[in-house]
């Protein structure tokens, strides 16, 4: 039916512009859930969030309520959070521990952590001779078709076929390598706190904003300037302001021409990278101590390689925005065409000195918490876009900035010199979108 209503989806996306309905039409949203989010690899959580048997975390994949759980054998499974009896959700909390097995709150059906049925009350007397019983696989909690993890970051795909996680992530894997390699032990641990913020805009508007290098100096100038003023006042008084002020003032002091000096790299499946590093390698005693610890673990050469990884942001389509140098990520859960939930997590580098964690924490609290002085203005813009896109004042969204000047490197597109503010990442995302949406299966 949807397919009849939207006969030629490909016509909604041109290389340099996109029809407004792509952001507003509920039918297109439903089709996106079916053909993108419920098909590709979607980030669920980190293994450290479910350390013990029975630990679980509930997560939405497309429209499907899922649960990620640690099983007795140590494996992390992802199941549909649904009892096969009457359809009740089995885990009602965001996170918790289910004990030795899952138990439905409605009629006490129980399930193993891999979804297999364990027991039904009155199994013999009530179900003998019916189609429902222990031998019917439909009596278990259904499993996600595929679950894989990369360096502890767990993804699930609800489609049996398709690229492997490694193939899907491709070069965007650098997000997780960069996070983990910065730990002298090569591992991270999720800090058990999730900030959940709802945006009143389409999920794609958020993703497109993440690598939009032109917006910070416009959208965030008020916060950048305010932070710069206070930063200067502190410097005048004490000689040095905490790094946290730089994290905020950079939004004003990094001018558009400096953003242009950065670069975007645009990969298959819609993944993109914005290079640039917010001066997070100062020569203070904390950093130098950290560098000593890293050199001891990896050797001088490898340490240099790790610390010179030139990444500001990695976008893993269709729902993960990673800031690897600061060990944090935002997972996108679309709630409807005009509502999007972001789940925001940060990670501790195992074995790294405490002050290095404090940097990630400062950014997490200042930029990514519900009191954020940065995203406050982003979310305002997302809302305005969503409102404007419903109007009859025009049919297209423009992604023309530096169009036609991207450099084709074979398996990826690179923006040209001094074109860091190019809208190449948006064009790349919409290209992937059109491919996903028009794929037969």
């Amino acid at each position: 039916m949807l397919h009849e209503r939207i006969p030629d989806l490909a016509k909604y996306v041109e290389p340099d512009r996109v029809r407004k309905e792509v952001y507003t039409d509920p039918a297109i949203f439903e089709l996106e859930m079916e053909r993108i989010h419920e098909r590709v690899w979607v980030y669920c959580g980190h293994v450290s969030q479910v350390p013990k048997t029975g630990d679980y975390l509930t997560v939405q994949i497309g429209r499907q309520p899922m649960v990620m759980v640690r099983a007795k054998d140590g494996k992390v499974n992802v199941l549909y959070n649904r009892c096969p009896h009457r359809g009740a959700m089995v885990c009602g909390d965001h996170r918790g521990n289910s004990g030795e097995f899952f138990r439905c709150s409605y009629h006490a059906w129980t399930f193993e952590h891999d979804g297999r049925l364990r027991n039904i009350p009155m199994m013999e007397s009530g179900y003998t001779g019916t189609r429902w019983g222990r031998d019917n696989p439909d009596c278990g909690m259904k499993r996600a078709a595929r679950v894989e993890n990369y360096r502890g970051f767990v993804f699930a795909s609800l489609a049996a076929d398709g690229p492997t996680l490694s193939e899907f992530l491709g070069r965007s894997k650098v997000a997780f390598d960069d996070i983990c390699d910065r730990s002298p032990e090569g591992e991270v641990e999720a800090v058990p706190n999730c900030f959940r913020v709802i945006q009143k805009g389409n999920w794609k508007i958020f993703l497109e904003n993440q690598l939009d290098a032109l917006h910070p100096s416009v959208t965030h100038q008020s916060t950048g300037r305010a932070a710069r003023e206070v930063e200067l006042a502190i410097e005048k008084k004490t000689g040095k302001a905490p790094l946290a002020y730089h994290m905020l003032s950079a939004f004003a002091t990094v001018t558009i021409d400096k953003w242009d000096a950065f670069q975007t790299l645009n990969y298959p499946y819609g993944h993109c990278i914005l290079t640039g590093y917010m001066g997070l390698r100062p020569q203070d005693p904390d950093t130098l101590e950290y560098e000593r610890v890293l050199a001891k673990a990896y050797g001088e050469k490898r340490k240099e390689e790790i610390l010179s990884t030139n990444i500001h942001h990695v976008l893993i389509y269709p729902g993960l925005s990673v800031q690897s140098p600061l060990q944090q990520l935002r997972a996108v859960r679309p709630l409807g065409p005009d509502r999007t939930l972001t789940e925001i997590w940060h990670f501790r580098l195992k074995g790294a000195p405490e002050p290095i964690y404090r940097r990630a924490l400062a950014y997490y609290n200042l930029v990514n918490s519900p009191s954020t002085m940065i995203n406050a203005d982003d979310l305002e813009n997302f809302w305005r876009c969503q409102q404007g896109l419903t109007s009859q004042g025009g049919d297209w969204v423009s992604f023309h900035r530096h169009h036609g000047r991207d450099i084709d490197r074979g398996d990826y597109l690179e923006t040209g010199a001094n074109m860091g503010t190019s809208e190449a990442p948006m064009r790349n995302q919409m290209k992937a979108w059109a491919q996903f949406m028009t794929a037969e299966k």
């Binding site: 946290a244 964690y357 918490s369 009191s371 979310l379």
Partner: protein, 189 residues
Amino acid sequence: MARKILKKSAAKKVAAKRSAAGKVVARASNGQGSQHAVEQFLYRQAEILDAKRWQDYIDLFTDDAMYWMPPEPSHTTWDGMPAIFAEDKNLMNVRMRRVMHPDAWSQRPLWGTNHVVGNVIIEKEAANGDVMVRSRFHMLEVRRDDVRHFAGRYLHHLKKTKDGYRIKLQRVDMTNAQAAYDYVLQVWV
């Protein structure tokens, strides 16, 4: 008209008497007196916040103060912990300057808050007059066409100064701290 003015000045006199009486009571019975003074302080803080008198609000805090909103009640410190707010006076200053900046886009739409503070319980009172006080709040916020409701507990560490109380620590445990935030918190709660 003249009668009205007369009435007003009479009312003023009565109020002056009352406040003088209050002072006498404060001297006579320290506990009861600080209860009243502390309540007045908390009410005024709420009023200043609702009136968007940002500098006056910041001035209620001591120079080494902390405004802290933990994400969950089990937290015992902001130091090294995720926090919704963990702002010293410098960071509060950044926030104030941001919201007052003409290009703070999200400040453009009409918005306002209404705080009601109650259940004021003085937990501790030191010999020097410093108090630790617990209270509850309800806050209604209107932004554009959206209404949000926040509620929770305040814990104030108040320092007694010659200019009245100043806040050394304000801890805000919002009952909906863990709920999803439909949009963000632009200023202090």
